[in-house]
């Protein structure tokens, strides 16, 4: 909570700082085109003195004639002239708009800006035409997607929030421009929220568990599930530890509490010692949990020991968590080779990315993926020689990888070396690689073996109908019989399953990075050493639990018969704690004695009940586990359910409220999900009144 507040304050400071703007140079496919289109649009508008707030869709006749006068001197009118002519001249507008689009049929940046202008003046048909032209340009560039266009289309969807059908239309286009991204699906999910649960759930599940779709989508989904589960485990471990710390710290720390002067109240002494012990958290969370486990170990009973061992087991696995988080971070880092490779396959040529991977390749010449990515970018940049060079290197480094085989085969294909391409495609398609089958068919077409080629394409289409059919459909729609060279073959990317089996071990997992991420989690030990140490500690606890159990153990501490506070044989008077025995020292009447005992007992009992109730409200189930008034298993199940639900809240808050901002929907969501707590609070209220 505190951190969020700090964040808000910090944001207030930086948000109004204009110098922080401009996120640096373009790194995405086509952003250079769009930027130069913006500049040319600006210079055109400036030349005819149209400035910022000029509303193009509400021109009066005087403005129109003056604009025509300014534009008349142009000999070869470009897209922007045509657009403006179209706006001014209502009768010929369709003609002019078509001309505008035709003028920029090789320029994706201007096409995109035209789409925006058409949308603004509500020329729906031309806006759609602009997008179609853009899509064609995308395919011509050998790309399957453009995340830049897709994301901007999503912004359009956000802008038209009030109009649901329009928003969904934009999302449909966004999906067309980036069918691999999870973001359009997410947006669609939230726009039609309660209805979409069933339809989208299928998509999410098939992507996450049946390895459909792109590996990036798969990883994102798996990771968000993992985060949910991980946070639940974390909450579970923390709640178990806090319950037993509350319960057994007084016994475990009694020895230290006795070091304080005896006339300080026992409760205060226990509190002080506990706070000293708690301050050891500052050395790190994991060491503290181990320390407290060892402190309270001799006091917990066998059932609680099992639960603690369970919690400690999860604690033992924290280095594994570091590995998983590292895989996620390294993979989705826009600068990671895997992401650049995926971009190279999916998107068109981007100079920035090419330069990045080129530099990386120079530093790590033995990285096959960097070589392959370099080759693909060279190919998309029409540099066939260096493409061949890097491609052969990648193949030499990783010869049995079907993705390498297919992509290098593509390079040979485009170089005209069909025999080499064919042999590589054959190798890949023997591994059941559909894209390679398709490409092999293209080779056969080249050899005029039309019949077997068609057969192969049919076979490939059976293997991955969605992908192959879309590819063919797009080609038929935009290029009919004249397929551009980059559209003759399909590039290959890893499938989600291969992501885990090939990509992660070969180029994503890095022990050093895991160590960096692990950092100072366990007293500065490396993740491997801390795993070993934790394991030793764990084994030690197991041994003393099950081997040395029947050793005669002397009870060191007792509970005061009146108040139940922990005392030892040193600090008690008779059978009672000092405070209680002081209270009855001068009383000889049995009845008064009984009354005093009852009042002391009920006072401490009330404190205990309130503590349990509060715990049950904060973390339903924890109070039961502490108070042991419900069966052990029921309270355990309740605590687990609460952990899962709280972790779910966290995901909701994190993914939805922080990303999407507060809205009626988010409030509704928060309320509906906090129902669980509400039930527990309502259940506790009558009990509070009763006491």
């Amino acid at each position: 909570m505190n951190q969020i507040l700090l964040r808000k304050l910090f944001l207030l400071l930086i948000i109004s700082n204009p110098f922080l703007l401009y996120a640096g140079n373009s790194e995405l496919f086509w952003s250079d085109w769009i930027q130069s289109a913006i500049i040319s649009r600006e210079s055109f508008f400036r030349s005819i003195e149209i400035i910022d707030d000029f509303k193009l869709d509400k021109l009066n006749s005087h403005q129109k004639s003056s604009l025509i006068g300014k534009m008349d001197s142009v000999l070869s009118p470009d897209s922007w002239h045509n657009l403006l002519y179209g706006i001014i001249d209502d009768d010929e507008s369709d003609n002019y708009f078509s001309k505008a689009l035709h003028n920029c049929r090789k320029d994706p940046g201007t096409t995109w800006l035209l789409f925006i202008e058409f949308t603004k003046i509500k020329e729906k048909k031309f806006a759609e035409n602009a997008l179609k032209q853009l899509h064609k340009l995308l395919l011509e560039a050998g790309a399957q997607s453009s995340s830049l266009i897709s994301q901007q289309l999503l912004h359009f969807a956000i802008e038209s929030k009030s109009n649901k059908t329009e928003a969904l239309e934009y999302i449909k286009w966004a999906k067309l421009f980036d069918s691999f991204s999870i973001q359009p699906e997410q947006k669609e999910f939230w726009i039609s929220f309660p209805v979409s649960i069933i339809t989208k759930l299928k998509y999410f599940i098939s992507s996450a568990f049946f390895f459909n779709g792109h590996w990036e989508t798969h990883l994102r989904l798996i990771y968000s599930l993992y985060v949910w589960f991980r946070n639940a485990l974390l909450l579970f471990v923390l709640s178990v530890f806090s319950i037993y710390i509350i319960k057994y710290f007084p016994s475990a720390l009694h020895f230290f509490a006795d070091l304080f002067p005896g006339n300080v109240s026992l409760t205060l002494r226990t509190l002080l010692v506990s706070s000293i012990m708690l301050s050891f958290i500052s050395f790190g969370f994991i060491p503290f949990l181990w320390l407290s486990a060892f402190l309270i170990w001799r006091f917990v009973n066998i059932k609680e020991k099992t639960l603690l061992l369970c919690a400690l087991f999860f604690l033992l696995l924290t280095p594994v968590d570091a590995v998983i988080r590292n895989i996620y971070h390294r993979t989705l880092d826009p600068d990671s080779v895997a992401m650049i490779f995926s971009g190279a396959v999916r998107e068109g040529y981007s100079e920035q990315e090419h330069r990045k991977v080129y530099a990386y390749c120079k530093n790590n010449p033995s990285d096959y993926l960097a070589n392959l990515t370099n080759a693909i970018y060279s190919l998309k940049n029409n540099n066939l020689v260096s493409a061949l060079n890097y491609g052969e290197q990648a193949l030499a480094l990783h010869p049995h990888d079907p993705v390498v085989q297919t992509n290098v085969g593509n390079i040979f294909f485009l170089n005209g070396n069909f025999d080499k391409a064919k042999s590589l495609y054959k190798l890949a398609s023997d591994n059941g690689y559909v894209n390679a089958q398709f490409n092999l068919a293209q080779c056969l077409f080249h050899d005029n073996k039309t019949a077997s080629a068609t057969e192969l394409i049919k076979k490939a289409a059976l293997g991955d109908p969605e992908n192959i059919n879309r590819f063919l459909q797009n080609n038929d729609e935009y290029f009919t019989d004249n397929w551009p060279s980059l559209r003759k073959i399909m590039f290959a990317d890893y499938q989600p399953k291969q992501f885990w089996t090939i990509l992660v071990p070969s180029s994503i997992y890095s022990g050093n990075d895991v160590e960096v991420l692990w950092g100072n989690s366990f007293m500065g030990l490396s993740s491997r050493n801390s795993f070993i140490l934790s394991f030793v500690l764990y084994a030690f606890l197991l041994i003393i639990t099950f081997k040395l159990n029947n050793k005669r153990n002397l009870r060191i501490t007792f509970e005061c018969r009146y108040c139940g506070r922990v005392i030892c044989r040193k600090c008690k008077t008779g059978l009672l704690c000092n405070a209680c025995s002081d209270a009855i020292k001068l009383v000889h009447n049995e009845k008064t004695l009984h009354k005093i005992q009852l009042s002391i007992w009920s006072k401490f009992q009330r404190f205990r009940i309130v503590r349990e109730r509060v715990l049950n409200i904060l973390f339903p189930g924890a109070g039961f586990l502490l108070g042991e008034q419900k069966p052990y298993w029921i309270s355990l199940i309740l605590v687990s359910i609460t952990s899962l639900i709280y972790s779910f809240y966290f995901s909701i808050v994190h993914d939805f409220i922080i990303r999407e901002g507060f809205s009626l929907k988010s409030v509704f969501l928060t309320i509906s999900f906090s129902l669980y707590n509400l039930i527990f609070i309502i259940k506790q209220i009558p009990l509070f009144i009763k006491n």
């Binding site: 964040r7 808000k8 910090f10 930086i14 948000i15 109004s16 700082n17 204009p18 922080l20 703007l21 401009y22 996120a23 640096g24 373009s26 790194e27 995405l28 952003s31 769009i34 930027q35 913006i38 649009r41 910022d52 995109w112 800006l113 925006i116 603004k120 830049l148 912004h155 002067p261 005896g262 006339n263 300080v264 205060l268 002080l272 010692v273 000293i276 301050s279 050891f280 500052s282 050395f283 989705l332 880092d333 990075d513 950092g519 100072n520 500065g524 005669r552 002397l554 007792f558 044989r569 040193k570 600090c571 008690k572 000092n578 000889h588 049995e590 922080i658 990303r659 999407e660 901002g661």
Partner: protein, 367 residues
């Protein structure tokens, strides 16, 4: 007759014999500097004895409450009203039927004998005889003990005392050697002393506490415990723990200072310790010794977020410029149109820190 002198070994036997021969009535008062003991003679026969830490009425009270299970508030009044007159007290007890006469007599004789025998162990101090006829109120249940039998018994016990004292310390805490179910029914402490004591052991009370709180005399307790030790039924708690018990007891006596001041000082002290630990852990250990690890981990945690935020902001900027035909003035412009979230801006703003860190590391490496 006035008789007085210094206590030394075996002199008490001579004094007893003298008093018996002379058939004298009166009180023999012994003092060893710490405690005082009294033996009452009537016509040369012992009729009562008392020691200031062990006296008959206390033991009798405990016997009635513990063994005979008579409610303490019932007889507390009785004992209070007969304070100093044990003769009428014993009569009343018999009359009220709390104890049979024979049982009471046996109890009183046994306790008296134990007290007298324990006086024989005193080797230093002084004795003095006051002849006095007014001793009837001191005689419990008309008991009569001949000095010959007492002297013989006492002589026998002296050696035994020394042997027992060498293996049993009054501060020692005994614990049972085996785990076994304790019997709930009441055991006669005189017929089965050892068993009775065995049931009393709670693992927390030192021998001292038994002596002061049980109906048995010191000697009987030592004897019983010694027997249990010989049978290996009980073992003493390790010296360290016994000693710490003793230390705590002493400390309890010392803790007579003002509770407010010690509360405040304890509080300040522990807060100081907390501050010290947090300082060591958080600042010294994690922020100085492990600074690099901590910082690198932090950076590796936020870098992916920063990069993706940067990308989001870049796209948002491009969109803003494409759509509104002007550059956004501040990040607020982007946020107003819901193009970026707080989260993006937060991570974006962190970029500078990461960059400076990279520069620092780069410089370190080049040097």
């Amino acid at each position: 007759m006035v008789l007085s002198g210094t206590l030394r070994e075996f002199i008490l036997a001579d004094v007893f014999q003298l008093l018996t021969q002379q058939k004298i009535t009166g009180k023999l008062i012994l003092n060893n500097g710490l405690n005082e003991g009294i033996v009452v003679f009537k016509n040369g026969i012992i009729v009562a004895a008392e020691k200031n830490d062990e006296n008959l009425s206390n033991k009798l009270f405990r016997y009635l409450v513990e063994i005979k299970q008579i409610a303490s508030n019932k007889i507390r009044e009785l004992f209070a009203s007969h304070e100093g007159d044990i003769c009428s007290l014993t009569k009343e007890i018999i009359q009220k039927g709390y104890l049979a006469e024979s049982e009471l007599k046996f109890f009183c004789e046994s306790v008296t004998e134990d007290i007298i025998c324990s006086l024989f162990v005193w080797n230093t101090g002084k004795y003095r005889f006051n002849s006095s006829e007014n001793i009837d109120s001191l005689i419990p249940a008309n008991i009569l003990i001949t000095s010959e039998s007492v002297i013989m018994e006492a002589m026998r016990r002296i050696d035994e005392w020394n042997r027992m004292k060498s293996s049993i310390n009054e501060n020692t805490v005994f614990v049972r050697n085996q785990k076994d179910v304790s019997k709930t029914n009441i055991i006669d402490p005189f017929k089965a002393t050892a068993e009775y004591l065995y049931n009393l052991l709670d693992g927390t009370s030192p021998v001292k506490e038994f002596i002061s709180s049980s109906c048995l005399t010191e000697y009987k307790i030592y004897e019983g415990l010694y027997e249990l030790i010989q049978q290996k039924k009980i073992v003493p708690l390790s010296d360290k723990i016994s000693r710490s018990v003793q230390a705590a007891l002493e400390k309890k006596k010392q803790d007579q200072t003002n509770p407010v001041s010690s509360t405040i000082s304890s509080f300040v002290l522990s807060m100081g310790i907390v501050a010290l630990i947090v300082f060591c852990g958080h600042f010294l250990f994690n922020s100085i010794i492990l600074f690099n690890k901590k910082h690198e981990a932090h950076i590796s945690r936020i870098t992916p977020q920063i990069k993706s935020s940067k990308l989001t902001i870049h796209i948002a900027e491009l969109f803003y410029e494409s759509y509104y035909r002007k550059k956004p003035q501040t990040l607020l412009d982007l946020k107003d149109f819901n193009l970026v979230s707080d989260n993006d801006l937060y991570y974006y703003s962190l970029e500078e820190t990461v960059d400076s860190e990279k520069n620092r590391r780069y410089n370190d490496n080049s040097e």
